[in-house]
């Protein structure tokens, strides 16, 4: 019978923990969220010898067991709760050979929880190059554990690590330091009050409140009452504890580790001199951004066209080969286009994550955070907000997920709230068609008006994001610790396996996460556009045939007229007419109204909806454009899409929160409906007011 043991992978960020996880589990891994919170939960299966399976949990990177972010709190919650089904039989602490001293701090803390703990020293291949030598035997004795010296880059030592894991029962459970000497009286009385509990566990539970606020601790609730020290005193004790631990570690390493600095060749300082330079740093960053944009727009257009065509022909095929009826229509007009609307973003999302994961793996991203922090801080953001704001130009969904490593809740929340202002890919189809309708083709200093308008819209998006961040920073009264400590890791060549797994994982989570919502919305939209109450809808065919009986319309043209008439009297058409009084001050008629309402789910729906309304069967751009250009404003006369209404629409789409999936992600990331609802209300109101002013001034 096969047996399963729980293995927790723990370690500092940038130690190659993910590489170890990937080396152990390969493709046998899955990512989810911890129940109730949005921190990623990575787990996988590793087959050990003799039919034993290891269930490996990759815990978020942490420097110690004193939590200061949601990510880090997950580690402590798991290690303190013996009843958790994931509670580890063995903890594997991953450290990197260059920062061994700092990594051992976390190791000694976990050891003090009396969990069997193995020490993995990664990046062994760099030892020679850095002039480092280790006395493993000495370290094993001093730290009372087993050590695996490995290199994930060269795939060395993984088998030995597996062997150590399967023999986990041989690993000592004893603590390796005695930190309670820092205040004997206090710890003695604590132990007397709770004689059945592990002293270090008690201490952690007490101090988590100081660092992180209330944590859920079912077992030892009574501790909350044990308050004999002020918060400041507790913090001082924690500082003493840290110093004490480092004293122990320094003693251990005195004999166990030698570094011959004369051998160290420093590539890092050379690269840093350029990449964090106050001029060159920004120039290089700007060029990297250009390449990313180029990739997202140009390189992904080929696969996107392919996906678009494939889904269009699939829909056509379904219509022709399945028996006619409502069910076939739902599949062909609701579900397939709905799925297509999700799948089409895969190339952009994959490219975006490819670049972001390369930048992160290589260590460059920390340099960007360093370069941008001061600028972003002025707007109430953090240097770490740069990544979400860049990602937002592809899609706000992965961008908002990328805010998770911002320590300060206030900075993180503001980033989440303003990211949807950056111009995402879904706005492009809307922008392009309206710009081509209302902006003349002339040139200004060699630059086309149309291209300038598009660029201006991107700048408006980014500008609004940072400006609203500035105001949110003033308005929001959230107390949160705003400290900023970023480790600048050594530069590394990204491992192909890690990058590939990240791209696959993130893309999958986008498709299934956002996909469910977009699919549901497109089914509802299909229903509302396909059914309507009363005579007008049900007898559309007869009404139109009678009306145009003398016009000798072609079969195709007549069908288009009927479809258009039906849409006008469908539920969604009625909704459009109802809201007409609200939107006519912006220069729109009920048809644009419908397109706005239906594109609430996702902006790119706008063009498709107009295509249907203007009774065009295909979304061939030239044709819709001609129809749109020919539309007459029912109240004011003249073309419906003129400069005033066009600008008004462009601005409306720049600001309005027209994306269900983003709202869903914001709900998930903030764990409440309050923030997405505020976001929806404020962004839509703002969009309405700006569009109103623009139209009234320009008309």
């Amino acid at each position: 019978m096969s047996k399963q043991i729980n293995v927790a992978l723990i370690g500092n960020p940038n130690t190659g923990k993910t590489s170890v996880f990937n080396a152990l589990t390969g493709l046998n891994q899955k990512v989810g969220n911890y129940p109730g919170i949005t921190v990623e939960k990575k787990q996988g299966i590793c087959k050990l010898n003799r039919g034993v399976k290891a269930h490996i949990i990759d815990l978020p990177g942490t420097y110690s067991l004193n939590a200061s972010s949601l990510d880090e709190n997950v580690v402590i919650e798991l290690l303190l709760n013996k009843n958790d089904k994931d509670f580890p039989d063995i903890a594997v602490v991953v450290s990197d050979v260059e920062n061994l001293k700092r990594n051992l701090l976390l190791f000694t803390q976990i050891k003090d929880l009396q969990i069997p703990t193995i020490l993995v020293i990664n990046m062994a291949d760099r030892m020679k190059y850095k002039g480092i030598s280790l006395d493993i035997e000495h370290l094993e004795v001093q730290l009372n554990t087993k050590i695996a010296l490995i290199s994930t880059r060269k795939n060395e030592g993984i088998d030995y690590l597996k062997q150590l894991i399967s023999n986990y029962k041989d690993i000592s459970k004893n603590a390796c330091s005695n930190v309670f000497d820092i205040d004997k009286d206090y710890f003695n009385s604590l132990q007397q009050a709770f004689p059945n509990q592990l002293l270090y566990k008690l201490w952690l539970v007490i101090t988590q409140d100081v660092n992180f606020g209330k944590t859920d601790r079912n077992e030892i609730d009574a501790i909350a009452d044990f308050k004999t020290k002020s918060k400041a005193d507790l913090k001082r004790l924690q500082q003493k504890e840290t110093i004490k631990r480092y004293q122990f570690i320094n003693n251990v390493l005195k004999k166990g580790l030698t570094i011959d600095t004369s051998k160290a060749k420093d590539l890092r300082s050379k690269l840093d001199r350029v990449l964090t330079h106050k001029i060159w740093g920004y120039v290089i960053f700007f060029f990297i951004l250009l390449i990313i944009f180029q990739a997202i727009y140009d390189w992904s257009s080929v696969p996107m066209d392919f996906i678009d065509n494939t889904f269009a022909s699939l829909s056509e095929w379904t219509k022709n080969h399945l028996p006619q009826g409502a069910f076939t229509d739902l599949i062909a007009e609701g579900i397939i286009p709905g799925l297509g609307g999700i799948v089409i973003f895969i190339p952009q999302i994959a490219f975006l994550f490819l670049f972001i994961s390369i930048l992160e793996e290589s260590g460059y991203m920390s340099r960007v955070v360093f370069l941008m922090d001061n600028i972003m801080k002025r707007f109430g953001l953090s240097g770490k907000s740069v990544v979400p704001l860049i990602s937002g130009t592809a899609c706000a969904i992965p961008a908002i997920m990328a805010t998770r490593n911002i320590e300060s809740w206030k900075e993180r929340l503001i980033t989440i709230l303003v990211t949807p202002f950056t111009t995402c890919a879904a706005r492009l189809p809307v922008y392009l068609i309206i710009i081509s309708l209302v902006i003349p083709e002339g040139r200004f200093f060699g630059l086309g008006y149309q291209a300038l308008t598009l660029m201006l819209l991107y700048l408006i998006g980014f500008g609004t994001a940072v400006t609203s961040a500035y105001f949110l920073n003033k308005i929001l009264k959230i107390k949160s610790k705003t400290f900023f400590v970023v480790e600048m890791p050594n530069y590394k060549l990204p491992l192909f396996k890690n990058v590939a797994l990240t791209v696959i994982e993130k893309t999958k989570s986008f498709v299934f996460g956002a996909g469910k919502i977009i699919l549901a919305i497109s089914i509802i939209l299909w229903f509302l556009a396909s059914y309507g109450p009363g005579e007008n809808f049900n007898n559309a065919e007869n009404i139109i045939k009678t009306e145009y009986a003398s016009n000798h319309l072609s079969e195709e043209h007549l069908e288009e007229k009927i479809a258009s008439y039906k849409l006008e009297h469908s539920f969604i058409g009625i909704a459009g007419r109802t809201i007409e009084p609200i939107i006519s001050p912006l220069g729109y008629d009920w048809k644009i109204g419908i397109a706005i309402v239906s594109s609430f789910a996702a902006r790119e729906v706008f063009v498709g909806t107009l295509a249907t309304i203007y009774s065009v069967g295909s979304d061939d751009e030239a044709t819709i454009k001609n129809r749109m250009a020919a539309e007459v404003n029912p109240i004011l006369g003249g073309p419906l899409f003129n400069f005033a209404s066009g600008i008004s629409l462009l601005l409306f789409y720049a600001f309005a929160m027209q994306c269900m999936s983003t709202l869903a992600i914001v709900k998930r990331e903030t764990n409440s409906w309050k923030w997405p609802m505020w976001q929806l209300a404020i962004m839509s109101t703002f969009a309405y007011i700006v569009a109103f002013i623009a139209f009234q001034l320009l008309k």
Partner: protein, 75 residues
């Protein structure tokens, strides 16, 4: 003379003498910012903030508002 970390110029080094202020996140201590340790200012962002430091072999960036609470002796 007592200086703080914020007084360091690019390329200069010092030894940390005191960090016991409650203004400093525990995390910074855990990353090696402890009395007795050597610190070097590697790089400054424009407007001299944040600061990119090498503290005892760990490379990290902190904001100036934190750096002024860390006392050092320049060497």
């Amino acid at each position: 003379m007592q200086n703080t970390l914020a007084h360091l110029k690019r390329g200069e080094r010092g030894v940390i003498t005191d960090v016991s202020s409650i203004h400093i996140p525990l995390k910074l201590l855990e990353m090696g910012c402890l009395p007795g340790n050597l610190v070097k200012l590697v790089q400054l962002a424009p407007f001299k903030d944040p600061m990119y430091l090498n503290i005892n072999g760990t490379h990290l960036a902190i904001r100036k508002e934190t750096a002024i609470h860390i006392l050092i002796n320049k060497i």
